[in-house]
């Protein structure tokens, strides 16, 4: 798991988002914009995405880290760091 490439990680994240929001157009998403608002991901959806990511990657995100997940790049950075650590 630890040596997942960033691209693979990105795909995993996108898969998890699409599972909740199948119509989401992620390619059109500016990388530094808060993705939840742009993709209309409410707190329940967000929770489901975190559950999904935990299942796929084994990373459990504590609530105190939520602020690091505001942008898609931030989320991927965060997961990469957690997987490496």
């Amino acid at each position: 798991m630890a040596n997942l490439s960033r691209d693979t990680l990105r795909e995993t994240v996108i898969d998890a988002i699409l599972a909740v929001a199948p119509e989401a157009d992620i390619d059109a998403l500016p990388p530094d914009r808060p993705w939840r608002e742009a993709l209309e991901i409410d707190s329940f959806d967000f929770l489901n995405i975190l559950v999904d990511l935990e299942k796929r990657l084994g990373v459990s995100v504590p609530e105190s880290d939520y602020h690091e997940l505001a942008t898609l790049e931030g989320l991927i950075d965060y997961l990469e760091r957690r997987l490496a650590g």
Binding site: A19, P22, A24, D25, F44, L47
Partner: protein, 410 residues
């Protein structure tokens, strides 16, 4: 003898199509049991019955369109068979008591039941009310995926939908093109129409007044973080649970906002059942009721909300959930808006709206600090309440969200 009638599942519902009976004459029904499926403009609804008894006869047939209030079935209530007079109304004799197996005294040796265990079936009805030609395996898979099989392209024998068709549709949906959205275009058009009717009626008939308040949610968020800190993701609460709880408790203080305006009079609700406005992906809106929101412990409330959200998105709501709410809560904060000036869902008399949580300058102990804040609003029916009552409610709501330890006092 009582009559089970086509329920009114919304102010705008005129009729429904009976899709499927789950009961048969002679069967016993319990209060709260889902007895039939009714197709409405809002999709297929599982309809519950509110009286226990025995099914005397089914009046409506599957596939029949029945106006609201018309008789669907006749139920023999518990103990009614003793009241001989009642049966005279329809000129028929009181049905004789059915012999029960227990009544037989003689030992009746029965062969052990060697038949295989019954398999459970899932409803298999397209939104048009016509039976879908779909394989059993495909039907089961569609249910697992929460996918409406109606409208899925079929490739199987005799034009049937196969497992592969369902998988393909599910993949297409995941790939960005929502099969569900395509498949349910008609249903969504109907839903749009229903929303249009209800909202037009609301704006036409209800004299709204609006109140708003910005409040600091740092204490509430701290409470939530503490609560969630040691919990796995699956057991965490989300902020809306706190919001709903606060609304429920505030309603206890101002019950005049919890109920319906019917026949030119306010009719208070029994119990605090909050309508939760849920935007459906692909368009549309439903607001099913979260029952007894004033009495649920945090985890129980979260579970109830999770169940409601999941089923709403799978189009598997129950009839009571569509009619029980005495007030609706809408939360558009996740969509980035600051504040909501809501439209009341008739015949309800108020609607609470929440905007997004964002950092703002906030004065604490005489100092301006950055704090996470939230705008809460109330839209209320001036025929039932005045601004003073509305203000009392909003103040109470603000207090509760500002002092979260009061939400579930120990």
């Amino acid at each position: 003898m009582s009559e089970f009638r086509m329920p009114s599942l919304g102010a705008d519902m005129e009729s429904g199509t009976l899709v499927e009976w789950n009961i048969r004459p002679g069967e016993r029904v319990e209060r709260g049991q889902i007895v039939c499926v009714v197709e409405t403009q809002k999709g297929a609804i599982d309809v519950e019955i509110w009286e226990a008894g025995t099914v005397e006869r089914l009046v409506a047939e599957e596939g029949q369109k029945v106006p609201v209030g018309e008789v669907l079935a006749v139920i023999l209530g518990d103990g009614e068979k003793d009241e001989g007079g009642k049966a005279e109304d329809d000129g028929r004799e009181t049905p004789a008591e059915r012999p029960t197996p227990e009544a037989s005294q003689a030992p009746s040796p029965r062969a052990p039941d060697l038949s295989p265990p019954p398999t459970t079936a899932t409803p298999d009805v397209a939104s048009s009310g016509v039976r879908l030609r779909i394989s059993p395996a495909a039907r089961r898979r569609a249910a697992e995926l929460g996918l409406d099989p109606a409208g899925v392209n079929s490739s199987g024998i005799d034009g049937s939908i196969t497992l592969e068709d369902i998988e393909r549709a599910a993949q297409a949906a995941q790939g960005g093109q929502s099969t569900r959205a395509v498949a349910t275009t008609d249903a969504h058009a109907a839903m749009r129409q229903a929303i249009a009717t209800a909202m037009a009626r609301s704006k036409r008939e209800i004299p709204h007044y609006y109140l708003g308040n910005t409040l600091c949610v740092e204490p509430a968020l701290a409470w939530l973080e503490t609560h969630n800190a040691e919990r796995p993701v699956t057991e965490r609460l989300i902020f809306p649970v706190l919001q709903l709880r606060a609304v429920a408790l505030a309603l206890e203080a101002v019950p005049e906002l919890n109920g319906w305006f019917v026949d030119d009079a306010f009719q208070p609700a029994e119990g605090v059942h909050l309508g939760v406005a849920i935007a459906l992906r692909g368009g549309g809106l439903v607001a099913p009721a979260l029952h007894d929101a004033d009495r649920l412990a945090p985890d129980v409330m979260m579970a109830a909300l999770r169940d409601l959200l999941t089923r709403a998105r799978k189009d598997r709501l129950r009839s009571s959930e569509l009619t029980a709410a005495g007030l609706t809560v809408t939360n558009l904060g996740d969509l980035g808006v600051e504040s909501v000036q809501g439209v009341i869902y008739p015949p309800q008399v108020a609607l609470v709206g929440f905007g997004r949580i964002a950092e703002r300058p906030w004065v604490r102990d005489g100092q301006v600090v950055a704090a996470r804040c939230l705008h809460a609003s109330l839209a209320a029916d001036h025929r039932v309440t005045d601004g003073a009552l509305g203000a009392r409610f909003l103040t109470r709501l603000t207090d509760l969200l500002t002092e979260p330890e009061r939400l579930w006092p120990t």
